[in-house]
């Protein structure tokens, strides 16, 4: 167990960033997101949640795949994938860490997504326990322990100090390399963890009933009439999918540059009318169908195909960010099971 005084965190960041790239919650113009640490940035480590999730680091919003260079009538094909240098992702919360597991199931399954894999392998994750979980948090429902978030290194703020506990080889190596840290005592951390667990148990959504969401109920759930009302106010904007740590859909697009064509992939959203557009059109023609797709995928299709693992980590971003206050909690409460009443 290592520790550092909270006021000295900047030294820590500087030291990490001196050796490899460091990504952590940074506030720019009122919004906190994972960004690269550079001199002068405003680190916002205490903020419970970044707007965009940490998945951005492995599966960025937009990413080059290949290039076609043209000159006259000739075309040259260039591999645009980059080999990432080792980097540290600092301040990841339990829910976001859990989301990596879910994304791994998608991107690391055959056929392996090489671009994702390279970045997953290059990272050292430092998680941070949630001292002040919010009413919109329901990670516990999906088996996340926000007081014990895991990762390569697990950090906990106790009073005016931050404690670090290495959990993997990578984590240990990172901690060992840092000279600004001093040895710490685990007892204070244990106390804090207990306090956090108590806070979590008092949150409003921690006892959501998911019992109805299982493979054999698929058709029944699909045909539930409540979808119509649940989705009524949905604007189809896609905010929920873009802030969601587990949404993994992307589109592959071409951009014509002055020298040829860049092929890149970028996030897509099942909320969009252009999503999975086929020869004719999007098979899901109205917003109710698109809305249903998103939640059925997270709560029914995904667990059916992945040993019961849900496609949601209970981070509550959609609860906070939906312009019209629609969210997965409302879906679970309506369709999840009797104990939600």
């Amino acid at each position: 167990m290592k520790k550092i005084a909270y006021k000295n965190l900047d030294l820590l960041y500087k030291e990490i960033a001196g050796a490899q790239e460091l990504y952590l919650p940074v506030k720019v113009a009122k919004a906190t997101n994972f960004k690269k640490y550079e001199d002068g940035v405003e680190v916002d480590i205490k903020s419970l949640q970044t707007v965009k999730s940490a998945k951005d680091l492995f599966f960025p919003q937009s990413e080059d795949m290949m290039e076609f260079k043209t000159s006259g009538k000739n075309i040259e094909i260039i591999d645009a994938r980059k080999t990432p240098a080792p980097f540290v992702l600092f301040g990841v919360r339990g829910c976001d860490l859990k989301s990596f597991e879910i994304l791994d199931r998608v991107f690391l399954a055959e056929p392996v997504d090489t671009m994702y894999k390279a970045k997953r392998e290059a990272v050292t994750v430092v998680t941070l326990a949630c001292n002040n979980p919010e009413s919109s948090c329901f990670c516990k429902v999906f088996g996340v322990d926000a007081s014990n978030p895991k990762g390569d290194v697990q950090a906990t703020i106790v009073g005016d100090e931050m404690f670090f506990e290495p959990l993997t080889e990578k984590g240990r190596a990172l901690l060992d390399s840092l000279k600004c840290l001093e040895d710490g005592d685990a007892t204070a951390v244990e106390g804090e963890k207990k306090a956090i667990a108590e806070k979590i148990d008092a949150l409003p959504f921690v006892n959501l009933d998911l019992s109805e969401f299982k493979g054999e109920n698929l058709m029944k759930l699909f045909d539930r009439p409540e979808w119509e009302d649940l989705s009524k106010a949905c604007l189809g904007c896609g905010t929920c999918t873009f802030v969601c740590p587990t949404c993994q859909c992307f589109d592959i697009r071409d951009f014509q540059t002055n020298a040829g064509v860049k092929r890149f992939r970028c996030w897509d959203s099942c909320m969009y009318s252009e999503f999975t557009k086929m020869a004719a059109e999007n098979p899901r023609k109205n917003q109710m169908q698109r809305y249903r797709q998103r939640f059925m995928h997270k709560l029914c299709y995904f667990p059916s195909n992945n040993d019961g693992e849900y496609g949601c980590v209970g981070c509550g971003r959609c609860v906070k960010k939906c312009p019209q206050s629609l969210n997965i909690v409302k879906v679970i409460k309506k369709l999840g099971g009797k104990n939600n009443d």
Binding site: V28, A29, K30, N33, T239, W267, S273
Partner: protein, 320 residues
């Protein structure tokens, strides 16, 4: 203020039972108090979940584009700002007015849940509202401390309605709506560039601003249309952040009623309304004051002209 909600429910019940309307567009209670959602109620019974309170900030007018196509009349409750959007949509033939029964409702500013959170309040069991204050969890706030940005500058008065439910005079706006625009104009070009670079770099192109906007009702947006030449799904370069927001603001210029929904819904809190307000302030300054949505038949400033209009070289309002 509670009696507004009561009066609204009574009105809705009466119209539903008389058969004059078949549906009611309003707000439904949420799980955490502040997360009320727009909802179409189809029966008197379902109105038990109906609510109208300080959290009903969403603009309902856009839902009518689809709802007014359906059979039967729908009752809609319009806040003053919603009613301007409604009028503008009527002007653009996007709403079938015959299928809508409009009831104007009093609004003295709606609460911004983020501002509540900043004040340490997360869940809301009940909120007691007066014209100038809101009391949540026993704590009394002045409106200007916790209402949405768009409400701080609101001067909108109720427009023509079939019926109106209003008991108090509208409170005066706290701020001049062009104050921030003026501040930006007074900056140097470098400062302005830095400001917008920071703001727009946060844009995740979730399209919330566009999809909530009552002026953005295109069947297919140019940014979704692969044939348009500017379609894109994510910002792959900082240029695309600017392109999206400039074109979007331009497309709604002269049609934007300044309802402020774009900034309310932005997950990154980008003050997008400042782009629209820049156009509004330029239009007011250069072509005479114009409030989109104030009527249903005037020509918009961009589909109009006078022979003596100012030249593009002489339009700059701010510093260089």
């Amino acid at each position: 203020m509670q009696r507004i909600e009561t009066a609204m429910i009574e009105k809705a019940k009466a119209l539903l039972s008389s058969g004059e309307v078949t549906r009611v567009l309003g707000w439904k209670k949420g799980e955490l108090g502040y997360d009320v959602e727009p909802c179409v109620f189809k029966s008197e019974e379902s109105l038990k979940d109906f609510c109208y309170n300080v959290f009903c900030g969403a603009n309902l007018s856009k839902y009518l584009v689809e709802e007014s196509k359906k059979e039967g009349k729908i009752l809609v409750f319009l806040k003053p700002c919603d009613s301007y959007s409604f009028n503008q949509l009527i002007k653009e033939h996007r709403i079938n007015k015959e299928n809508v029964y409009t009831v104007g409702v009093e609004c003295q500013g709606k609460v911004d849940p983020y501002k509540l959170k900043e004040n340490g309040i997360e869940m809301v069991d009940s909120a007691v509202e007066t014209v100038d204050t809101v009391t949540v969890k026993g704590k009394e706030f002045k409106k200007e401390e916790i209402i949405l940005g768009k409400c701080l500058t609101c001067t909108k008065k109720p427009l023509s309605y079939d019926d109106i439910i209003s008991f108090n005079e509208k409170r005066e706006p706290v701020l001049d709506r062009f104050e921030t625009v003026k501040k930006l104009e007074a900056m140097t070009a470098d400062e302005r560039y830095a400001f917008w670079k920071d703001q727009l770099s946060n844009c995740i192109r979730c399209n919330a601003c566009r999809n909530v906007c009552p002026a953005c009702t295109c069947t297919k947006c140019v940014f979704d249309n692969d044939n348009s030449g500017i379609a894109s799904k994510a910002n792959s370069d900082s240029f695309e952040e600017k392109l999206f927001h400039i074109i979007r603001a331009f497309h709604v210029a002269g049609r934007c009623t300044d309802c402020g929904e774009c900034s309310r819904v932005c997950p990154q809190h980008i003050p997008l309304h400042l782009l629209n307000r820049k156009f509004i302030s330029d239009i007011d300054r250069l072509y005479g004051e114009y409030q989109a949505g104030e009527d249903t038949d005037s020509k918009g400033p961009l589909t109009n002209y006078t022979t003596g209009d100012v030249d593009p070289s002489d339009v700059f309002g701010g510093n260089n």
